[in-house]
């Protein structure tokens, strides 16, 4: 089971450096991926935490929205950890997929590539694999169906309980 918790992990900057943070973004600690900046963590059970951290980066590179925090990408991919716990073949596909991604990315691995374009270049090479398609396909619902991200895109969601838009701007366009 993956748990995502909101808590200040409370690492010092020194400790972060010692633990080898992923840039300054995500930190691996025990079985967890932690975002010290934004105070959340994600604990993995089946997949290696490094694999999860790479999946999160990969998710962002597939559907990059600069205004959407990492946390939502983490939530969007956490189902793969659960699936991997139930299905050894699935787990192998993910671990092998990530290992392959790292290999194609050179010494520093996938997360070591500094520019999105570089990482996208590697993703392009594996675009047709079942691994890539499983991650991309899962994100379509996993990322965009999180109610918490809708306001970031200006989508207001459910409206019945508010009486619809009849008195809330269904025809409020002014610039035409």
């Amino acid at each position: 089971m993956v748990t995502i918790y909101d808590a200040k992990p409370g690492f010092s900057r020194r400790e972060l450096l010692k633990r080898g943070g992923i840039g300054a973004l995500l930190v691996i600690s025990g079985s967890a991926v932690i975002s010290p900046e934004h105070a959340w963590g994600l604990e993995t059970s089946a997949l290696k935490p490094e694999t999860m951290a790479t999946l999160i980066q990969m998710a962002r590179d597939i559907y990059p929205h600069d205004q959407v925090p990492d946390k939502y990408y983490a939530i969007a991919v956490k189902g793969h950890d659960e699936q991997a716990g139930k299905d050894a073949a699935y787990k192998a596909m993910l671990e092998d997929g990530i290992a392959d991604l790292d290999k194609k990315s050179g010494d520093g691995g996938y997360r070591g590539l500094g520019w999105e374009d570089q990482r996208v270049g590697v993703l392009k090479q594996i675009e047709a694999t079942p691994f890539f398609q499983a991650i991309r396909g899962g994100l379509v619902v996993g990322l965009y169906n999180q109610k918490e991200v809708w306001p970031i895109f200006g989508y207001e969601g459910e409206s019945y309980s508010k009486g619809g838009y009849i008195a809330r701007g269904f025809d409020d366009i002014e610039w035409l």
Binding site: G154, Y165, R168, G169, D171, I173
Partner: protein, 523 residues
């Protein structure tokens, strides 16, 4: 009170499916005192159960039993097991539908005579004319509360419509308005008027949009002549030695097989399931399936030539507020071969919420080109193209050779290739729609590929002659007198207009015919 009929009651009319066709036919017959059992594969959800949530609603209402696809249409690649976006629930796809209710044009009942023979297209004239349909169109519009008819005002235009209208004016289009919608613009029929909630595709929680679920069905039940049996999936239609149908075998809510005896059977499961059921009812006497002496059952599958165009502007639009299909441009619906294709198409505004936009804008796409489109979701406007597609014998529903559903019934395969006429029409429409939005200042436009089919038509086509089609002008099987088809699968050709008003009109007309034939004891 709703009736309850015995399985052995062989005096009832059994209707398969409770959507636009089946739900309407059931009520019309019940009003005339005919006893009716509707078998509906889906569950019964009333409108207070509906959810303003795209995927949540999809899970609640949509037909998600597995189907397979083949052919060159993009849906086969993007959604190989979801060729159609339709409903499995009491009320059928009238729970999901947007409400656009347009009459066909006169020439659309006579496509072979008007367009001439077209290579690779199985064109045929309908055995009925617009003049014959007009009184039934009028009855259907009155029943459904269609705006812009019977002195009912049109709906007010939302933001998405206003952008469309501004573009239409710039391009010189003349016929642009908020449509003829089966949505109450005033309180009527003991139902609310539209509150512009913007979840028409998810089932209207206000009951403002017409659906058989809360109009035809309860009205029919109130006569004491109608029973709707939910969670009842018809598997096979039985017949006797003379070839008359005698009953319908169905799987009940526990998966147990039952047989409901019948005097008459009417099939209204939408254009994938109806031919599937007829084909699956093959017997020694009818080895190719019921009503299939012409070999046309399952063929000529049509889905309308569709596509969408979304556009981004430098200022906000909020297209998702208010009715999903909020307006129409009809100028391109004419038949004018100088455009490079026969038949015509309509532009209708359309909006998807963020979750569906992510799934349908460009299925399979990823990276910044795609995500920057979604970044401006609240600055988007959009429309849908719906045009006449060409019937083709090869576009067809067949029974899968080895895959079966939970009840052991072979699943349906849906094969579709675009006809060159479809492609030419779609490209024309993409160009016009892009020009329209550019004229209003769009900074970026997206020619969006067709979604899984919401309009499914033609697979049990109506024909004058028995050798050309499956049913006659009343939807009665050419081969079997007491077997009817009552949904969009009867359509000889598809026309440019959304199909449901015509499905409902045909069902009203068919009810008159069935009742008359029953009184005359000919069936």
């Amino acid at each position: 009170m709703a009736a309850s009929f015995d399985l052995n009651n062989d005096g009832v009319v059994v209707i398969i499916g409770s959507g636009a066709g089946g739900g309407t036919l059931g009520n019309e017959l019940a009003q005339k005192g005919v006893d009716v059992v509707i078998l509906e594969a889906g569950a019964r959800h009333e409108y207070e159960d509906f959810v303003n949530d795209e995927w949540g609603s999809f899970a609640q209402l949509a037909w998600t039993d597995k189907r397979t696809t083949s052919g060159d249409w993009r849906v086969a690649k993007d959604f190989p097991n979801l060729p159609a976006w339709i409903v499995k629930s009491v009320g059928g796809s009238t729970t999901h539908w947007a409400g656009a209710s347009l009459r066909f044009q006169e020439h659309e009942f006579k496509t072979l005579s008007t367009y001439g023979k077209l290579e690779g297209a199985n064109l045929l004239d309908w055995p009925i004319t617009l003049a014959e349909m007009e009184p039934y169109y009028a009855k259907a519009e009155a029943k459904m509360g269609v705006t812009g008819t019977n002195d009912w005002p049109r709906l007010p235009g939302n933001n998405n419509f206003k952008v469309l209208k501004a573009g239409a004016d710039k391009l010189g289009y003349k016929e642009c308005h908020t449509g003829n919608m089966a949505i109450n613009s005033v309180d009527r029929d003991d139902r609310n008027s539209c509150q512009q909630t913007g979840f028409c595709f998810q089932g209207c929680k206000w009951g403002a949009k017409w659906s058989t679920l809360y109009t035809e069905i309860p009205k029919g039940e109130a006569t004491g002549h109608l029973e709707v049996r939910p969670n009842a999936m018809a598997i096979k239609i039985n017949h006797d030695a003379s070839g008359k149908v005698t009953g319908v075998v169905y799987a009940d809510k526990d998966g147990k097989l039952q047989e409901q005896k019948a005097r008459i059977v009417a099939v209204a499961g939408n254009s994938i399931e109806s031919p599937r059921l007829l084909l699956n009812s093959a017997s020694g006497k009818f080895p190719d399936g019921l009503a299939n002496s012409s070999g046309q059952v399952g063929k000529n599958y049509m889905r309308h030539t569709t596509g969408s165009v979304y556009a981004i502007f430098d200022r906000p639009v909020h297209m998702y507020r208010g009715t999903t299909m909020a307006g129409i441009i009809r100028d391109e619906a004419r038949h004018d071969p100088s455009r490079g294709f026969v038949g015509g198409y309509e532009f209708e505004t359309l909006s998807l919420g963020l979750p569906f936009m992510a799934a349908f804008l460009d299925p399979g796409a990823w990276g910044r080109s795609f995500t920057t489109a979604l970044d401006h979701y609240d600055h988007m406007a959009g429309l849908w193209i719906v045009g006449e597609d060409m019937p083709r014998a090869e576009n067809r529903i067949t029974l899968h050779a080895d895959e079966k559903d939970a009840h052991g019934m072979p699943i349906a395969d849906v094969h579709f290739d675009d006809h060159p006429n479809d492609t030419a029409m779609r490209n024309h429409a993409y160009k016009q729609a892009t020009a329209l939005y550019d004229a209003v200042g769009a900074t970026r436009t997206f020619p969006t590929p067709p979604y899984p089919s919401t309009h499914n038509l033609g697979t049990n086509r109506m024909s004058e002659k028995a050798e050309d089609g499956v049913v006659n002008k009343h939807g009665q099987a050419h081969d079997i007198k007491n077997l009817f088809v009552s949904d969009g699968s009867q359509f000889t050709t598809g026309a440019a207009e959304n199909p449901t008003l015509t499905i409902v009109s045909l069902a009203i007309r068919q009810a008159d015919y069935i009742a008359a034939q029953m009184s005359a004891k000919t069936i």
